[in-house]
Structures are given as structure tokens and as C-alpha cells.
Assembly symmetry: C2
Homo-oligomer: 274 residues x 2
């Protein structure tokens, strides 16, 4: 699995390097966050979904890059002083700490634009990704407004769903549409992604409590009161993450052996918390 992750993240890095502009301060700011050591989980999820469908990896690669650009764009804007005011991301100073707020805002705007430009020739996938991004933005609004409101389990689940699960769902659904998958396969992959998204976010909440800043690359315990461990305790949260992983894998029943990488990815998401 580790070799697969390394090989595919290299493939994605090379494609991103070809896609991003090279000259000027804006390009520098865009490249800083894109090449800040992200694990490329979302683009690799696209490529693994393509493999499960017997699809063409090269055809899916621009979409995989678009998802990563969209993800990075939301992180840059989320870290801004007016939002989460986070000084570190992936173990490095956040974009606005290096390039200033103006350039950070514009680098995010440019990454979002470049993402959609890169998949203009895949209208159905573009529709998936733009719909997901609207959910991510709505999730960030709920997150920003959360401290002043009472936080219920329902509210936390909504924020999770919007902020994380929406984009993971778009990874597999957009890929499936590019690969012209059958409706049944799209439905199964959607279910997989929804459980994967929950497992992913619960795991993130657990890491926020258990990991050190060095391990995580960003300030820890930043979102404690918005997390699963705060609501359910650490052990129960780990159980819940494991259950979501199982449900994700179960959704893939009937796909056959080509689905292996998707199964491994679900395992990877949860195991990094232990």
C-alpha cells in the first residue's frame, strides 16, 4: 500500500507541476500550498476509483488534480486570520504567513479557477465538483459561526458531512462519470465515499486529540469541542471510525478484485489514528 501511495502521489505531483503557472508571485503562492507536503489522499482516491471501474487513469488525472487544487484552495482560505486564523498547515507556515493575506486570498481564487478550467471538457464531473465545493463552503460558514451557537451532535455531523464527505464523494462520483460507469456502480461508490468521509473526519478528530503538533503539522486540539472524542470519548470514537470503515468496504461488495486499492484506502484512513 505504501508503495502505491508513493507512486500515485508522484504521478499527481508531476501532473500538478505541469498544470500550475510557473512565473510570478501568484504562481509562487499557489505552488507553495500545492507542494507543501499534502498526502494527495483525494486525487489518489480518484485514481483508485478509476482502477476499480477499469477506467483510464490518464483520462481521470486532470480531475484528480482539480480536486486537489480545490481542496488546497479551501485550506488556504480556511487558515486566514478572518476564518480559523491558523498559522501552520502541514508543518509549514500557512500561505498568508508567508505571502500575506492579499496574495493568499488571490492564490486560493486562482487555484479554484484553474481547477474548473482544467476539467471544462468533463461537464458531468465539473457539476459534481462544483456542487461539492458549494457544500464545503456552506460547511465552513457553519464552522465559522459554530462557536457562538450550542453545538449538537447533529450540528457536528452536518459540518463533517459538508466539510469533508462532500469532496470525497465528489472524488468517486466525478471519476465514475468520467469513466462512464453504470448507475449501480456509481451508487455503490457513492455509499463507499459517504462512509469513508465519516471515517476520515472521525479519524481527524481523534488525531486532533492524540497527535502532537509535529506529527500533525498543524496546531493540535484546535477543534476539540467540535470533535467526536469530545462527544463520545476516545475509545467509542475509534469504534465508530472502524465501523464506518467496515460499512465503506461493505458497499464495494460485488466489484471484484479491482476494488483492492479502495479497500486499502479505507483501511489507511482509520489506521493512521492508532
Amino acid at each position: 500500500m505504501k508503495e502505491y501511495l508513493i507512486a500515485k502521489s508522484k504521478l499527481v505531483d508531476q501532473a500538478l507541476d505541469r498544470t500550475l503557472p510557473k512565473k510570478g508571485d501568484l504562481a509562487k503562492a499557489m505552488r507553495y500550498s500545492i507542494f507543501a507536503g499534502g498526502k494527495r489522499f483525494r486525487p489518489i482516491l480518484c485514481l483508485a476509483a478509476a482502477a476499480a471501474l477499469g477506467g483510464n487513469e490518464k483520462k481521470v488525472l486532470p480531475y484528480a488534480c482539480a480536486v486537489e487544487m480545490i481542496h488546497t484552495f479551501t485550506l488556504i482560505h480556511d487558515d486566514l486570520p478572518a476564518m480559523d486564523n491558523s498559522d501552520f498547515r502541514r508543518g509549514k507556515p500557512s500561505n498568508h504567513k508567508v505571502y500575506g493575506e492579499a496574495l493568499a486570498i488571490l492564490a486560493g481564487d486562482a487555484l479554484s479557477t484553474l481547477a474548473f478550467k482544467g476539467i471544462a471538457d468533463q461537464p458531468a464531473a465539473l457539476l459534481e465538483l462544483s456542487s461539492a465545493l458549494l457544500e464545503v463552503v456552506a460547511g465552513q460558514v457553519a464552522d465559522v459561526q459554530a462557536p457562538s451557537k450550542p453545538l449538537t451532535v447533529k450540528a457536528i455531523r452536518s459540518i463533517h458531512k459538508w466539510k469533508t464527505a462532500a469532496l470525497l464523494r465528489a472524488c468517486v462520483r466525478g471519476t465514475a462519470l468520467i469513466c462512464e460507469a453504470e448507475p449501480g456502480a456509481i451508487k455503490a461508490l457513492t455509499k463507499y465515499a459517504e462512509h469513508l468521509g465519516l471515517a476520515f473526519q472521525i479519524a481527524d478528530d481523534i488525531l486532533d486529540v492524540t497527535a502532537t503538533q509535529k506529527q500533525l503539522g498543524k496546531p493540535v486540539q484546535a477543534d476539540v469541542k467540535k470533535g467526536y472524542p469530545y462527544l463520545f470519548g476516545l475509545d467509542r470514537s475509534k469504534e465508530l471510525a472502524a465501523r464506518e470503515k467496515q460499512l465503506a468496504i461493505k458497499a464495494l461488495d460485488g466489484f471484484g478484485p479491482k476494488v483492492k486499492k479502495l479497500v486499502d484506502l479505507a483501511g489507511y484512513v482509520v489506521e493512521r489514528t492508532f
Copy 2:
């Protein structure tokens, strides 16, 4: 002409009202800037270009709305404290003065996303609009960085080209692609839009010097040192705007009478400065 502008801006307003979300704080922030009294110049330019090409207005309307959403998104982000720090826009407090910086940033992000989502089924037009937006963002970077650099005529012209002309060009070119126009017509309309963009920006620079804040709806003399009057004087600037208008109209030779609204729009752009 006035009746035409009123009728078409009403049409665009109705389409935008149908397109934008209705509930929640994010929707409110998006709607605040979209319905803040913009003249709808860009979407009307799309509709006038469609008329010149004998195209279907209804088919172009989503693109016209997308352009207005993109334009509004760039204005919201440009006004932010980290950028131009402008408290007023179109005679009203800017978005972040009403909704706070976080929601203003996210409202801009959502408008941009909704714009591309709305034209996913027009790949060629989406490519035009996203390319133009990348130029607009690059222009804003140059603008933000301008105060610390010596400002040459060339630099001012580049900023103008990026910040204004790129989007106006995308209006007519995207429309032409949706209307499946012939290459010759696209070329002529592109030339028209490039001169129109210059005329528009010179006129804006003139208004920045001559208009009152009440007339303009935003602080005046905010960009004096970046403007044509500062470089060439007021009279010469007016001559230059009039010349660009003439060149824009000349580019339309051979289109026949259907081109009238485009001619009128070019006149409108320059005459508002006198």
C-alpha cells in the same frame, strides 16, 4: 437605449434571483452584493452580442449570469481590508462591512463556484470565462503590488487589460461560442471587446477624478495615481476613451443592423463620463 438597459437588467436580475440560494447567512451575503444595484453591464453585453449574432437569448442567459457572479465575486474580494480596503461599493457598505470578513470571503468563493456550476454544460464558454478570471486575478495581484513599484504607462495598461478587458472579452467570446458563431465573427467581436474594455477603463479612471462619491457609489480618487488622467491629463484621457469607442464600433463593420445594441453600449460606456 435606456429602455433596453432597464429591460435587460430586469431579465438578468430575475435569472440571478432564480439561480442564487435563498436561505441562510451565506445566501444573504451573496445576494447582498449581487443585488446591490450593479448596472449589469457585463451580462447585457453578453445579451447584446447574442442579438448581434442572431443567437438565442435564453441559451446565453446562464452565461450572462455567470459573468455577473464572477464580476461580483472579484469585487467582494477586492474590497477586503487585506486588498483595497474599500468600505463602500455601489453606494452601500461593502460586503465585509456588513457580513464580516469571513462571510465576505466565503460569499465570493460561493459566487465563483456557482458561476462555473451554472455553465458546466457550455465547456467552450467555461474555458473562456475561467481563462479571463485567471487574468483578472493576475491583474489584482499586480494592482495590490503596484504601490511599491514604479508605475509606468505599460504597467497601468497591463493592469487595465487584466482587470477589466479580459472579462469584457470573455463576455462576447463566450457568448459567441454558445451561439456557435463563425471564426470571422468571433474575431471581430473580440476586437470590439478589447477596444471597449480600454474605453471602459479609461472612462472609469476619468470618473474616479471627476465624479462625486454620491455619483460613483464608492470612494473617489482612490486610484488616481494608477489612472489615465494622472498620466495624460483629463482632456487627453477623454480623447483616448472616445478613440477606443470609435475603434470598437469600427470592428463591427459588416455585421449589419443587428449590431445596434453593441454600438449603443460602446457609446454608453464613454458618454457616462461627460
